[in-house]
């Protein structure tokens, strides 16, 4: 196997590397993006181990690693494998799903504001969960199912309302904002109707939290990711082309509407499932792709870096909230909301300075 280096963009360290094998097989890798992905993975793994050791009963990093490898004492084994590991895994999967879902939506709408938080998908999931909590006083599983259905129905509604011989960026964002407003009003109504206990439960759910998540939340998310991530990555090259406009990508032989339908469906499923598992964790879907993109400095949807960035953001935010406010005191959604909100403002200010808005 031989490979060669092609330099591009002087001043930046972006180097594209092409790996070629006999028989015509060739892969295209961007070194900078690869480095970013590896660095993010290392960060998120380290943070996960530290997070598992953090809590009312702190466990040293060495013991955490030993226990994870099946070599700990019984007490640590229970805390690590039954309590904290599933919680961290849910965090990783939720963060990755939100990051990927956000990157897909932002690429499809060609707009950073076209992310699931802004389009009303999270609000749709919330509505589903609130219906279960307020009207039926449902169990945790029912609330999860309600959130999933709510997210999917909202996603479908946005797609159908925005569809007019194809879905276009601005229409998608505007329709999404409209849907979001309606659903938010419904959510407000549901909360005012609720009694105190249900309302408290609803508000906790709405903040987005990893508290008390166990293996029951891990498996469905893991399966969904295992199926959807390969589907998404197989369509990633087509998605990259559609960023140049429908006409150009169509002329290049991309089946634009099919790629978009498949990817939107995947993004809706990922977002709805993540929201059902952890509540509407704010702004990860919005910020992760933008941060990833600024790190890789690469045009294109940056799907894998966004996924890694989403997981990193969520885990680091969870760790920060536990360190600053104590275990299980502050839901992770508050921290990501604050971080994301500040970032969004910064984004808007820089865009304004660049004269784009």
């Amino acid at each position: 196997m031989k490979s060669n280096l092609v330099r591009s963009a002087p001043g930046s360290s972006r180097v594209a590397r092409f790996v070629r094998a006999p028989g015509g097989l060739s892969l295209r890798l961007e070194v900078r993006a690869l480095v970013v992905v590896v660095a993010l993975l290392l960060t998120v793994l380290t943070a996960s181990v530290v997070l598992i050791g953090t809590g009312d009963f702190p466990i040293p990093v060495g013991d955490v690693l030993k226990t994870l490898l099946g070599d700990g004492n019984a007490g640590q084994e229970f805390i690590v494998n039954e309590l904290r590991l599933p919680r961290v895994l849910v965090g990783l999967l939720v963060g990755a799903s939100l990051g990927l879902g956000g990157a897909l939506f932002q690429s499809i709408s060609r707009n950073p504001l076209g992310s699931p938080d802004v389009l009303g998908l999270s609000q749709g999931s919330t509505a589903g969960a609130l219906v279960m909590i307020v009207l039926f006083s449902g169990s945790a599983a029912q609330v999860t199912a309600g959130a999933l259905v709510g997210g999917l129905v909202t996603g479908l509604a946005i797609y159908l309302l925005a569809w007019k011989q194809g879905v276009h960026g601005y229409r998608l964002v505007l329709v999404g904002i409209g849907v979001s407003a309606v659903v938010t009003a419904v959510n407000g109504y549901l909360i005012t109707k609720a009694d105190l206990v249900d309302a408290t439960r609803a508000v906790v759910w709405m903040t987005g939290s990893l508290n008390g998540r166990d293996w029951d939340q891990v498996w469905p998310l893991l399966w969904l990711c295992a199926i959807l991530v390969p589907v998404v990555l197989a369509n990633a090259r087509g998605l990259r082309m559609t960023e140049m406009g429908d006409d150009v990508s169509y002329a290049l032989g991309v089946r634009v509407e099919r790629v978009r339908l498949v990817l939107m469906l995947a993004a809706v499923l990922l977002t709805a499932a993540a929201t059902a598992a952890a509540g509407p964790v704010g702004f990860v879907a919005l910020t992760a792709p933008q941060l990833a993109r600024r790190l890789t400095r690469s045009p294109g949807p940056n799907l894998v870096p966004s996924m890694c960035m989403g997981a990193t953001l969520l885990i680091v935010a969870d760790w920060a909230s536990q360190r600053l406010f104590g275990a299980d005191q502050l839901p992770v959604g508050v921290v990501t909301g604050v971080l994301g909100g500040v970032y969004l403002l910064w984004l808007l200010v820089t865009e304004r300075k660049a004269g784009r808005i």
Binding site: V6, R7, S8, A9, P10, F18, R20, G24, L25, S26, L27, R28, R110, A234, R237, R240, M241, E243, M244, G245, D247, V248, Y250, A251, L252, G253, V254, R255, R297, S298, P299, G300
Partner: protein, 296 residues
């Protein structure tokens, strides 16, 4: 490398019988057969038939809203005719696999977006998409063809620059380079000179002429400027209200009568002192108003 010329597959049953009456019409690779073109309910053209002669530089002209861009969209399968059909190598274009069409027919549309932070070489490289697959993402051929496309459009020295930083003329050359990297024997261009100043307009048209003459590609362009069209086209199609008023070599069909019929403009047609092709000189305002006054 695939030889696009002999990829033509046997025509499906059903269309065979219809081909009998057309006789020589199937010779050309790209044609529209009595197509009706409409956006939603708004009909732009009805029963329109157009042949694109092989190895020609065909230019479509006509007044605003005559359907020239719509025709180009139909020829490049962006718009599905509500009646009739567009044939590419004897097959209905909509029935062909998307990537196969993209290896035969390229299009430079009016609306294209350069993604943020993309370099020229990257953008041109994206033209290789229809030749690539999940496991064949970047071959030596891809690299060579991208380099050649940039060289023949004169953007090779810009390869590492960001597309956002380029001037309008340079950017248009980059998009043309991308369409070239697609390596299609047929290339369709929708108003490639719009928004460019006169020097860059001529620049782009020279480039088109070069692609046609030296690389033997069949070019189809929509142009606004009748004089540019008359100078560069080998085959001219004049449209008005969705139907063909005249077609043929510019020297044969561009007359004062035709310009008046198509554009409603009184003019003289003289020989271009540079090239000998027809040159349209609009009548002076006074002359035109006098005629209008006499007519009323």
């Amino acid at each position: 490398m695939s030889g696009p010329a002999n990829e033509t597959e046997p025509v499906m049953s059903g269309s065979v019988n219809e081909n009998v009456e057309k006789g020589t019409n199937t010779v050309n690779r790209l044609s529209a057969e009595s197509v009706t073109l409409a956006y939603d309910q708004r009909v732009i053209a009805e029963q329109l038939s157009v042949e694109i002669p092989d190895n020609s530089f065909t230019v479509i002209v006509g007044p605003n809203a005559c359907g020239k861009s719509t025709l180009l969209r139909a020829l490049s399968r962006m718009l599905k005719p509500s009646e009739g059909r567009v044939l590419l190598d004897g097959q209905v274009i909509q029935s062909m696999p998307a990537k196969k069409v993209a290896r035969t027919l390229g299009l430079l549309p009016q609306s294209s977006i350069a993604p943020d932070g993309i370099t020229v070489a990257d953008l041109v490289g994206r033209g290789r998409y229809p030749h690539q697959g999940l496991l064949r993402q970047w071959s030596h051929d891809d690299e060579r063809i991208v380099r050649e496309s940039m060289e023949s459009t004169g953007v090779a020295e810009l390869a590492e620059r960001y597309v956002d930083e380029l001037s309008g003329g340079q950017r248009q050359r980059v998009w043309i380079a991308m369409a070239l990297a697609q390596q299609t024997p047929l290339l369709l261009l929708d108003e490639p000179t719009t928004y460019l100043d006169i020097q860059h307009q001529i620049d782009v048209l020279d480039l088109c002429a070069e692609l046609h003459e030296e690389q033997g590609r069949t070019l189809v362009a929509v142009l606004h400027d009748l004089n540019h069209a008359a100078r560069y086209a080998t085959h001219l199609i004049a449209l008005r209200d969705g139907s063909v008023v005249a077609e043929g070599a510019p020297g044969d069909i561009v007359t004062a009568g035709l310009v008046e019929e198509v554009f409603g403009l009184r003019c003289q047609v003289i020989d271009d002192p540079e090239t000998g092709t027809p040159l349209v000189v609009p009548a002076a305002r006074k002359a035109r108003t006098k005629v209008a006054a006499e007519a009323s």
